[in-house]
């Protein structure tokens, strides 16, 4: 009787075992893949290996240099040796003898500026390259001057020029040294001593376009009526610069007038200078009062602000004093990465003149200060006239010379390349670390585009094609930034873990507990018969 029950039991339990095995099989073979497939975070494929490869590639600009004239062999060899030490720039020096027309031109030229104009027209120095002309006629050079930098891409040197001096000049002309250091790697910035680090931080970060805003502050419009034609001033002084920089960066100029608000400063009357002195340490506090009205309200481009302040009547005339107690020459100060502020003093109204007192502003002084500040905010290479070096003064002081434009483009491309590298690398690391980030096809497309343009840009920089490099790099930079900051990646980022458990546990636990327990029964069936058989027998 018990045997029958046992047999029935065994048969029943065998069926039960098959059922349990079937449930387990469905759960593992069908359920798990379906669950995995439906709950993975969507991730477009990113070119991780390409990014790693491109990060390892060297970052340098190829700059061609032509040495024209009868020179000694040692000059070019020494020059090459000196210039090889420059980081980030590889010089390709070529030598040639001067042509008949060039020699004739030197003989017939009246002055060096005349020679410069004529030679540039016939020599056609390509964009992104420099030329050094050895001039044997000594009457072009003054007594202790051995190098004269021309207005275009030519530099004139005496035959017996000091190679060290020449290589220093060329290194300063090719790229702004601080921008170069910054672009080579941010680690180097920390190594700079205090003053240089501050100087290196002066320049604005490189972006494809900037908003230049001129703000005129009139705190007492009832006393003075200011007449300043901003439109004419911008068209006359800033428009040529904007047009010249079009190929390198886009500048959009606007102007506004802020009434009834002043800079909250408390200057002291200085009796020896007969004016109000604003000490240097109060300068950082001045901008807070007007911060809300500055900056663009719809665009995300970085802004460069230039503020022109007309002091209040009771604080007139107002001059900025440097730390040694002397008034600064230009009554203005530069704010690193932000812009500049200048204080424009107006003549006081005479005793019983009627209000408001009508004043015209000195447009030339204002705009030349703005341009000076703008030149210092952008990484433009500059030269100072020192012992043995003379720079030909340019006809139009607001425009840049061609070698400066090339230097600016080089600095920007270097900065772009390092920035794109950092952005894409951070994106890959982030995506690898956080498994919850969604990468949509749009973002993936941008990353692929950015990587492609980045490699093109690096290639163009290594071959010296500056224009193309700028174009590729600005496009790549825009795409990399758009991909990195896209809000769709954060969609599932903060999905709380306890919500995951709250969904999975009531769903899977009641199903899996009986299945696992019945598996135990299955196992038990395959273990038990052996001692049973022995017993029966």
């Amino acid at each position: 009787m018990t045997k029958l029950v046992e047999e029935k039991d065994m048969a029943g339990s065998r069926e039960g075992a098959w059922a349990a095995a079937g449930f387990a099989a469905v759960l593992v073979l069908v359920g798990l893949p379906v669950w995995w497939y439906t709950t993975t975070v969507y991730r477009a494929h990113l070119p991780y290996s390409t990014i790693v490869n491109l990060s390892g590639q060297p970052l340098y600009h190829a700059t061609g240099m032509t040495l024209v004239g009868e020179t000694t062999a040692t000059l070019s060899v020494e020059l090459e040796k000196n210039l090889r030490s420059m980081q980030g720039i590889k010089f390709q020096i070529s030598k040639r003898k001067p042509r008949k027309e060039e020699i004739a031109m030197i003989k017939s030229a009246v002055s060096l500026s005349d020679l410069d104009n004529k030679l540039t027209q016939i020599m056609h120095v390509a964009a992104g390259t420099l030329a050094v002309f050895v001039v044997h006629e000594p009457d072009f050079f003054e007594s202790n001057v051995s190098i004269i930098v021309g207005r275009h891409r030519l530099t004139y040197v005496k035959p017996g020029v000091d190679v060290q001096l020449l290589s220093t000049v060329i290194k300063s002309m090719v790229i702004d040294p601080l921008a170069n250091k910054r672009a080579q790697g941010s680690k180097l910035l920390h190594q700079l001593p205090g003053m240089h680090k501050r100087e290196a931080m002066r320049q604005v970060p490189t972006e494809p376009g900037y908003d230049v805003t001129l703000t005129l502050m009139v705190p007492e419009p009832h006393r003075t009526e200011i007449d300043w034609d901003a439109k004419a001033a911008v068209n006359e002084y800033l428009k040529p610069v904007v047009n010249q920089l079009e190929s390198v960066t886009k500048l959009i100029v606007r102007s506004q007038v802020l009434y009834m608000s002043g800079l909250n400063v408390s200057p002291k009357w200085s009796t020896d200078h007969e004016h109000f002195a604003l000490p240097q340490d109060q300068l950082p506090l001045t901008i807070n009062a007007i911060e809300a009205k500055l900056g663009s309200f719809v665009w995300t481009r970085p802004s460069l602000h230039f503020v022109i302040y007309i002091p209040r009547k009771k604080q007139m005339p107002l001059h900025i004093h440097s730390s040694d107690g002397e008034p600064t020459e230009t009554n203005s100060f530069l704010v690193p990465r932000w812009g500049g502020v200048m204080i424009h003093n107006i003549p006081l109204a005479k005793g019983n003149a009627s209000f408001p007192h009508y004043v015209t502003l000195d447009s030339h002084w204002i705009m030349s200060t703005v341009l000076t500040h703008l030149h210092r905010l952008l990484p433009i290479p500059s030269l100072k006239e020192t012992e043995g070096l003379k720079i030909l003064p340019s006809l139009d002081t607001c425009l840049l010379t061609e070698w400066q434009l090339d230097g600016l483009a080089r600095a920007r491309v270097s900065y772009y390349l390092s920035n794109i590298h950092i952005t894409l690398q951070s994106l890959c690391e982030l995506v690898g670390e956080i498994s919850n980030m969604v990468i949509s096809d749009e973002v993936g497309g941008w990353v692929w585009g950015a990587v492609e343009e980045w490699s093109e840009c690096g290639q163009a920089a290594r071959e010296g094609r500056l224009q193309e490099a700028t174009l590729y790099c600005s496009r790549s930079f825009t795409q990399a930034d758009a991909a990195f900051f896209h809000p769709s990646m954060l969609a599932l980022l903060y999905f709380p873990d306890n919500q995951k458990y709250a969904i999975y546990v009531p769903l899977f636990l009641p199903v899996s507990i009986p299945v696992i327990l019945s598996l135990k029964m299955v196992l038990g069936l395959y273990w038990k018969p052996s001692p049973r058989k022995e017993k029966v027998e």
């Binding site: 419009p221 009834m260 719809v298 009508y358």
Partner: protein
Amino acid sequence: MGEFAGVLLVFLSCLVVTGRCRDDTFTEELLIRPLTSGHIYSHFEFTTTWTTPEITRSIDQYRDFEFSHYDLFPRAFGEIVERYHVRELHLSLTQGLWRHRKWGYPIVDAPPGAQLWVWFNPTSENLDQTWRDLVNALSGLVCASLNFIDSTNTVSPELSYRPQGLAEEWYAGNSSYMRYAALPRENVCTENLTPWKKLLPCDTQSGLSMLLHPVPLYTAHYHALSLHLRPSCKDVSCSSVHLELTQALSLVQGPTLSSSGHQDWSLQQLFSTQLIYTCPLASMSKIYVDVTGNRDMKKFTLDPEPDIFDESGSGPSLRQLAVYDVQAALAGDGFNIEATYKSRHIYGIIPSPHLHVSRFITGYGQEGGSITVKFTNSGSTSLSVVYLEVLPWYLRLFLHTSHSYSHTKSPVYISKLVTARDREQGWLYEAVVEIPASSTIELSLDFTRALLKWLEYPPDANHGFYIPAATISAVLPTPR
């Protein structure tokens, strides 16, 4: 020769009088109207106009504005207008309900909450995306949550909200250039007033904006803040055009009854501050007191004496204003206007305005109900009005039951109807209703409520659901 001399004379006089010819002007005005219900209605209007050859060209050719050099016109607002292809913009933020029956018609009418309607320039860009971007930019400008405006509460009505500025026939008749949205639940508080005040050239330091102290403004019965931008004519002959930005603030403050029951009021009492400084940038700064019905100062006297009296209209639309020139009056001391009433205020029967409307919900419970509108025409001529109703998608309307009761069966002509799609589009119901003289018409729309997902309920369920206000557009026979 004669014209040349004339032009030269105008040019010289311009220079002599103002010092230089400005492209833009700024004026400020304040109207104070004591209402028959005992309340005081104050309406501030700050107008900035701007005209340059580029602006004129943009207005004439329906192109985007290109502003580069700002002076009195606020740059924060100008950049938004420039970027999002805006030609006309009207934004209002209101707290409280305007009672047309008791208070008459306001100068600028606004429903409670936020309301935004914009006419765009004809452009090839997708206007829905532009509308979304504009709404987000504006919500940053005025610190209001306008970003809740999306496709479910945006409509383009056919006959209502026609351009208030210059517009030709082909443009004004094409509603695809226009978007309208209302957020009835939006609260208005000081954080909306502050950025609005910052758009004024004189800020809050001087001029009539000195009177805008938050405490009395936000304890009023009705408070409306608005921004209106439109291209308009410079003068009556419309020989030249300009861009006009009007910032208006309407206020209805509670009965200012003194202990003896007299409706005495003064600027100091209404706004808790005094006018001390005049705005040097304003070309005109005036205060008007409505003295219609106060002939010869019989009902109340004003101190100081007004500079001039201005009269306009005749018959039922007669208006008399006492005008104060603030720039002339301010001489260092504060400026205050006081009105002293001769007798106690009588809460009598207030004559109803020509057209007034009452709208309410009938029915009970959460399942459904009906929206009923009662139009009352108390004039002697019949009126045709355009009735616009914008409803959220979760009220499922039954249009076959919309009907009107009246003595003479007047048909309702539906000019535009957009049926709702769940979670995508709201209802737009626009009808032309003819109201006979001296009668009341009732229109009702039945609805049932749809079931909402748990995330779609508004916060604070006890408030209930806010339905946007309906809009009535009418041309009244008498100007009031």
